[in-house]
């Protein structure tokens, strides 16, 4: 009985989730009247707007990941090592991006960093791009911080650091050559999650007027007939690839871990 109910629950879940995916795949193939074709995909790939905005978002995602790693990894390391009493405070801060709706955060950016303020970031293209990257980093912060925190909890931080220092390593060497390789898996999973978030993000890019993939998707949804479904399929495939890569990286790390 239990097994039947379990299978039933899974079946309901499968139907509920697969139908939209099948639906969007089917709709994306209907561009040519009366027959299935890949016309919508060809139209999407050949659209210079798609290439430009997608390239922009991929670049921003990579920059955000690097920036996030540079800010988060040393911080988590330091807190674990020297400032354990600061942990609840850090947890609170990393929970804030989930509490404050992103639209409120970007509204704050527009008001705080306009050209009549003390830090006129929106005055130049570069400044606005930097602001957007910081916004993305804020959105990804809870996931990145949590992933790295869990990763660092699994290794014996104090011993490793002291061993490296007794061999003469400075802080940078410790971080780059000892800590980072050990948490690479955690960092990678945070990185893929960040990638997925940045690619699909809409509100920040729309209100800061930057040519990112999210606003392009919304624009396509209103102005194009069959391309939006093709875009949704492409986005889904990308997100799936990111998640699979995370799983792959995690499995891979299990093999390289020495048995204790």
């Amino acid at each position: 009985m239990k097994r039947i109910l379990s299978w039933a629950a899974i079946a309901v879940g499968v139907v509920y989730f697969f139908l939209p995916l099948v639906g969007m795949l089917e709709f994306s193939l209907k561009m040519r009247r009366g027959e299935y074709s890949l016309d919508a995909y060809a139209s999407v790939m050949g659209d210079p707007q798609f290439q430009a905005t997608f390239g922009y978002s991929v670049l921003m995602a990579c920059l955000t990941i690097v920036f996030g790693v540079l800010v988060v990894v040393p911080t988590v390391f330091w807190v674990r090592l020297k400032l354990p009493r600061l942990r609840p405070f850090m947890e609170f801060i990393t929970l804030l991006p989930l509490v404050i709706p992103p639209i409120v955060i970007v509204f704050g950016y527009i008001r705080l960093f306009n050209t009549s303020s003390w830090l006129p970031l929106t005055g130049t293209t570069f400044g606005t791009d930097f602001l957007l990257m910081c916004g993305y980093a804020v959105l990804a912060l809870p996931y990145m911080y949590r992933a790295v925190d869990t990763g660092l909890a699994a290794i014996d931080l104090r011993t490793l650091t002291e061993a490296a220092q007794s061999l003469g390593a400075g802080w940078i060497t410790v971080l780059a050559k000892v800590i980072l390789p050990n948490v690479l898996v955690a960092v990678l999973s945070g990185a893929f999650l960040t990638f997925a978030i940045v690619i699909g993000e809409y509100v920040f890019a729309a209100l800061l007027d930057r040519p990112a993939f999210g606003p392009y998707l919304v624009w396509a949804g209103g102005n194009k007939a069959y391309e939006p479904a093709a875009l949704a399929v492409i986005t889904f495939a990308l997100t799936w690839a990111c998640m699979v890569l995370i799983q792959f990286a995690t499995k891979f790390s299990k093999h390289t871990r020495m048995p204790r």
Partner: protein
């Protein structure tokens, strides 16, 4: 190296977290504080509660009430169905590969929110959507003639539930994992039936986790704006879209109202997440 006592007494350890704190201050705390402060400031810069009072117009109240109803309903349904799926995967006696697949799939679909979800939804249940045409051609059922509408309350709930269920599955599965087998065995030794075990042991233990996740799902749906914009072209009267239109085009003809709207949104999601944090700390008593 300087060796004065004063030098050594300074909190040098804080320097390590300085970049992070600077980042959080500049790009998270200050903007939010700016908005909160702006909600209480009028055109001359003086303190006022007028902006807050101005929120209580029928139009804005309707938008917020709709947002609250939509978020709560989708969170509740997501909670129940997600819990059922998680139970099935962890305790349902299914083959072990199912768990991995379900977890990966949940990870993907919970991130599939936003604009692509709206497209998938239209492609499935829209006027010429896959399921609509399927039902019409195979079963003779025209859901639109029966009154179905994607932009109706239940239509939107259906769209939101799409990313609520996987989020629930992802969060509640570790909690169900924490239900120790020893408790089940102890209950059976003492003569409890399956139902009694669930009613008196498992559900009370899982309770805080369930409630906390419900609160998290609520806050998640409340702030979600991209899906709704993609579905309706920013005409739908929910709180985040109202704020979006206010920021973009000042549709309410009062610039200060934007601050007050944002502040109200923070209050609602803040309360909801506060519930989540409290519940989580209570849950961690039993489930480590």
């Amino acid at each position: 190296m300087r060796s004065s006592r004063l030098w050594r007494a300074l909190p040098w350890n804080g320097l390590g977290v300085l970049p992070f704190l600077l980042f959080a201050l500049l790009f998270l705390l200050l903007p939010t504080a700016n908005i909160v402060a702006g909600a209480f400031v009028d055109s001359d810069g003086g303190f006022t509660l007028k902006n807050i009072f101005n929120i209580f117009t029928p139009e804005i109240m309707n938008a917020f009430w709709l947002s609250i109803r939509l978020s709560f309903t989708s969170a509740l349904i997501g909670c129940i169905l997600g819990f059922a799926i998680a139970l099935a995967v962890v305790l349902g006696g299914l083959p072990s590969w199912i768990r991995g697949v379900v977890m990966t799939f949940s990870g993907v679909t919970s991130n599939f929110a936003g604009v692509p979800l709206a497209f998938a939804y239209v492609a499935t249940l829209g006027r010429v959507g896959f399921v609509t045409l399927l039902l019409r051609d195979w079963f003779g059922v025209n859901i639109y003639a029966l009154g179905f509408n994607m932009i109706s309350f239940w239509g939107l709930v259906a769209a939101y539930v799409f990313f609520q269920i996987p989020l629930m599955v992802l969060i509640i599965t570790p909690a169900i994992d924490g239900l120790k087998r020893e408790w089940r065995e102890a209950a059976e030794v003492l003569g409890a039936t399956g139902g009694q075990y669930w009613r008196m042991v498992a559900l009370p233990v899982l309770g805080p986790s369930l409630l906390g996740t419900l609160a998290l799902l609520f806050a998640n749906a409340f702030g979600a704006v991209a899906t709704a914009i993609a579905l309706t072209g920013s005409l739908l009267s929910i709180a985040p879209i109202l704020l979006f239109n206010q920021i973009r085009g000042d549709v309410l003809q009062d610039p200060h109202l934007g601050y007050a709207l944002a502040f109200a949104m923070i209050v609602i999601t803040g309360i909801s997440n506060g519930v989540y944090v409290v519940m989580r700390s209570r849950a961690e008593r039993w489930i480590k």
